[in-house]
């Protein structure tokens, strides 16, 4: 394929994408001249260039479309529903030919006459002002219909004249090359072959009028051309390579920084290197980003087509189109998102009459929303439809044999909702071409998890369903925990990691329990299957059998399976650059890639899902699903009510776990005082330390005995500031229960039932039981600014 054709393909595809967007918009605003102009231009550009390149099929199709669009733009036709459907068909037709040019370098053998006829038929109900013309036009229409009925192909009265006049116009600038004269007469011949006498009919839409319009669009396209000059098409392969090299540079920089740390002469230089590298990396990553509008823009069409075929009335709302995401990730979520939208339309939004009966707006709303949240992009698909009927889910799951009836009876609402992610699940009564085949939600979940994302679902009966896709910003760089096993470093993606448990050597034999050779660990009262990484990696008989050293259990959640991976040691978490493995190593299945660590060592990246599978953590579909669901239920419910149990000078108190950022053990000397208020200079900022339990005083008095006085500070997030709480010990993490006041049965605030004991909850907002720090945030911030 030559450069010119390639360029043409890319340009045309972009034009068609734009046209698709405009067409769906047009339905809402049929009179919008700018939109019509845009659509016309897309088709016109394709037609012009094809004539030049000699793609005849494409040309005649584009031509038919252009005629119709010309009428539309001149206000002779109104963009009603059948017309837009016709134009969408034209779009599909053009796309399929472009595709065949791309893959086979030829237009293919398809027959477009039906489509062209359809387009021409749409031109028919032209109404001109003036009775005379009107009657004339109706007779012409009758004639035309007769022609079509008689099986006369193509060639209504309208197209030929423009074909005659316009075909040469697109290419006056370049010297008339061979294909142009050839294609023009042939197109003409195809058209004018038969009813040439009809052309004279006065009812024909004045063909001359399209002519000046065509020339009018010319300067506009030229203007678009200059705007395009400030951007550049870059091969994705090249971008990937750049990303790789930048990763390499980051690594080298790390080593340079380490090597030059001692040399003051180099400090300035290496700092500069540091900055430039960070900047470069950020920009290369930016270059790979594309706005989500690239996939959102496909949705109006899908929604339109589906709602028509399903008989729904749906309004699509799109928010956060500018949110950017790595190109490869964008590609990866295209299918899941389409599935989710289909699902919403098919299962979520009810038919208009049902909605009306329920007292809702007959027109349903489907909302697509993209936003940033930390290092993730959240994409929400929400509808205001019927919501998910959990009882139906229960019945269907049993009916399809996905879960045992007695188990299903025990499941709560949240757990039941999770069942829709099982492969083979469908609530649709009948299989339609839209959905009901039982593939869908499991595909959504699998695809999203494959790229390190998560799917959450939230549904309220009668109010609607929200599906939330949580997508990492980039695939190339992921946060990972570096673990040690068999004297090697491995990277464990943090997305799958839920917690870490340390088992000291003396407890190892007691803490790990066995059922017939299967190791288990009691994690807060529940049995957690364990996988020993060293035993998995080293063939049986060769590994050191001793577990009498430090063991760390990394509790992992992968594809709904939960297990503990036992490793020998932990190193720091790192942001790692993922590098692909060669095919030979990929087939091992346990590794999803490799990476280079800060110390220039290589580490293999473990694939938690594959490890679970290999170690046999896979359970039967039934148990697996319910296990996963109940686990998720657990963590979901616990998030709201889990507390960190602390002890401050003999008193027990609870801190909401969700607010705890981390727990720091610091020497007492790091606590400084402003007035009589203890503060901690923390990462260059002052953080107020609450000491209602007089822990500091107690520690100070004990410090005289042994001068290494250490205190524990629980760092919490409160609104938008950080607060430290001085405690003597951190005891445990436990789920708290609500307490009700006797008599009134009102829920009590500030206390919770932890481990069967009534425990005061530390009110971080500063009311009780700690003395108020209400006015503190501003004061402390000012102080921090003043001191820094």
């Amino acid at each position: 394929m030559d450069e010119l054709t390639r360029e043409f393909l890319i340009e045309s595809q972009e034009g068609l994408d734009r046209m698709e967007r405009c067409l769906t918009d047009l339905e809402a605003r049929p009179k919008d001249a700018a939109l019509l102009g845009d659509i016309f231009r897309s088709v016109h550009t394709i037609k012009g260039t094809t004539g030049f390149l000699g793609f005849k099929r494409l040309e005649s199709l584009a031509h038919a479309g252009e005629n119709l669009l010309g009428l539309l733009r001149d206000g002779k036709l109104v963009a009603d529903r059948p017309l837009i459907t016709g134009l969408l068909h034209l779009l599909d037709g053009l796309r399929s030919i472009l595709k065949s040019i791309e893959t086979e370098a030829s237009e293919g053998e398809g027959d477009d006459t039906v489509l062209i006829e359809q387009l021409e038929e749409l031109q028919a109900p032209v109404r001109f002002p003036g009775a005379q013309e009107l009657s004339a036009s109706t007779t012409a229409n009758a004639k035309q219909k007769a022609c079509i009925k008689a099986g006369v192909k193509s060639a209504s009265m309208a197209p030929p004249p423009p074909a005659l006049q316009k075909a040469p116009t697109p290419c006056p600038a370049p010297p008339p090359s061979a294909p142009v004269p050839v294609s023009a007469p042939s197109a003409k011949a195809a058209r004018t072959s038969e009813p040439s006498e009809v052309v004279a009919s006065p009812a024909a839409p004045p063909p001359v009028e399209t002519e000046p319009d065509a020339s009018r669009t010319r300067p506009q396209t030229a203007a678009a051309g200059t705007a395009a000059e400030s951007t550049l098409r870059v091969d994705v392969v090249l971008l990937n390579r750049m990303m790789n090299l930048v990763g390499e540079l980051v690594l080298t920089r790390n080593q340079v920084l380490q090597a030059t740390a001692a040399d003051p002469n180099m400090t300035l230089l290496s700092r500069r290197l540091d900055m430039v590298t960070a900047d470069l990396r950020e920009n290369v990553m930016k270059a790979r980003m594309q706005p989500v509008s690239n996939i959102f823009s496909k949705m109006p069409r899908i929604v339109r087509d589906l709602s028509q075929s399903l008989g729904r009335r749906v309004r699509l709302q799109v928010e956060g189109q500018d949110t950017e995401l790595d190109k490869s990730l964008l590609e990866a979520i295209k299918d899941p998102l389409t599935h989710a939208v289909r699902n919403s339309l098919d299962h979520g939004i009810e038919p208009p009459e049902v909605r009306q009966a329920a007292g809702k707006d007959p027109e349903g709303t489907l909302k697509l929303r993209a936003s940033h949240e930390g290092s993730h992009v959240i994409i929400e698909v929400s509808d205001d439809g019927a919501g998910i009927n959990v009882e139906m889910v229960r019945l269907k799951a049993i009916e399809r044999g996905l879960i045992a009836a007695e188990r299903a009876a025990q499941l709560g609402e949240r757990e039941l909702l999770q069942l829709i992610f099982l492969p083979g699940f469908s609530t649709a009564a009948a299989v339609t071409n839209v959905s009901g085949r039982g593939v869908g939600m499991d595909v959504v979940r699998t695809n999203v998890e494959k790229i390190g994302g998560k799917v959450e679902i939230d549904s309220r009966p009668g109010r609607g369903t929200t599906l939330r896709l949580r997508i990492p910003l980039t695939l190339a760089i992921i946060p990972a925990l570096i673990v040690r096993s068999v004297d090697q470093s491995f990277a464990l993606p943090q997305g799958a990691l839920s917690e870490l448990v340390h088992i000291p050597p003396e407890q190892a034999s007691k803490a790990i329990e066995w059922i017939e050779g299967a190791p288990l660990y009691r994690l807060r009262g529940k049995l957690l299957p364990l996988v020993f990484l060293d035993r998995l990696l080293v063939p049986a008989g060769q590994h050191k059998s001793a577990i009498e050293h430090d063991n760390f259990i990394a509790v992992l959640d992968a594809d709904g399976r939960r297990y503990g991976l036992v490793v020998d040691g932990l190193a720091d978490p790192e942001e790692i650059v993922v590098k692909p493995l060669s095919a030979v190593l990929k087939v091992i299945g346990l590794y999803s890639g490799a990476t280079v660590l800060g110390n220039a060592d290589l580490a293999l990246i473990l694939d938690p899902g594959a490890i679970a599978q290999k170690a046999g953590v896979t359970m039967s579909a039934d148990r697996e699903a319910t296990g996963a669901a109940s686990e998720e239920e657990d963590s979901g419910a616990a998030k709201a009510m889990e507390y960190l149990l602390v002890e401050a000078a003999g008193r027990r108190a609870a801190v909401p776990l969700a607010d705890v950022l981390r727990i720091e053990q610091i020497p007492l000397s790091r606590i400084e005082y402003i007035g009589d208020r203890p503060v901690l200079n923390f990462e260059g900022q002052l953080m107020p330390v609450e000491d209602s339990g007089a822990v500091l005083a107690a520690a100070e008095s004990s410090a005289q005995a042994d001068h290494e006085a250490q205190i524990v500070v629980v760092v919490c997030r409160e609104a938008n500031r950080h607060v430290g709480i001085a405690v003597s010990h951190v005891l445990d993490v436990a789920a708290g229960g609500d307490l009700f006041e006797a008599g009134t049965s009102q829920r009590t605030g500030g206390v919770t039932l932890l481990k069967d004991r009534v425990t005061g909850v530390v009110n971080l907002a500063g009311v009780q039981p700690l003395p108020s720090v209400e006015e503190a945030p501003e004061n402390w911030n000012q102080l921090a600014e003043a001191t820094s």
């Binding site: 080293v538 590098k579 095919a583 030979v584 190593l585 091992i588 490799a594 290589l602």
Partner: protein, 157 residues
């Protein structure tokens, strides 16, 4: 310059092959330099648990992670302690590294000294070797870089 000498030179050039010699144990092997991208000295590949035996581990090479093939393993020699040299070879499927004990020099050998594989070699060696050049003081066993590609090896095994 006469036409005769030009012809003679051309003949000579076509008969000469540039070969990089590498040592493994006591044997010298040759790799056509046209297949070599780079030579990395003193590398310590990171072992990959559960990988096929012939995989010598991973090395970091120009921003990518390179799979290496251990020639010692392939020829059933005991593994060598310490650092090894790596030839980065190019093949259809991409690049891979070949772990050898040491890299010698680039020799120019003449096709006149070439002999195909002797028939007494076992099947595996027959596929890996591509004949030998008889040098004055030693034999230079030619390796077939295409056959050493880990992908080919995995298909063979």
């Amino acid at each position: 310059m006469s036409t005769a000498t030009v012809l003679h030179k051309k003949e000579l050039a076509s008969a000469l092959v540039e070969v990089c010699s590498v040592r493994l144990g006591d044997t010298w092997f040759g790799v056509p330099i046209t297949h070599i991208l780079e030579i990395i000295g003193a590398a310590r590949p990171q072992p990959v648990p559960l990988a096929p035996d012939y995989v010598g581990g991973l090395v970091h090479y120009r921003g990518d992670v390179l799979t290496t093939v251990s020639l010692r393993q392939l020829l059933d020699l005991p593994p060598k302690e310490g650092a090894q040299a790596i030839l980065v070879l190019e093949s259809d499927g991409g690049c891979f590294g070949l772990l050898v004990d040491a890299v010698g020099e680039v020799l120019t050998v003449s096709s006149a000294d070439y002999e195909p594989n002797p028939s007494i070699l076992d099947q595996r060696r027959k596929t890996l070797f591509a004949g030998a050049y008889k040098l004055k003081e030693k034999l230079l066993v030619m390796l077939n870089p295409e056959r050493l590609d880990p992908l080919r090896l995995s298909q063979a095994s």
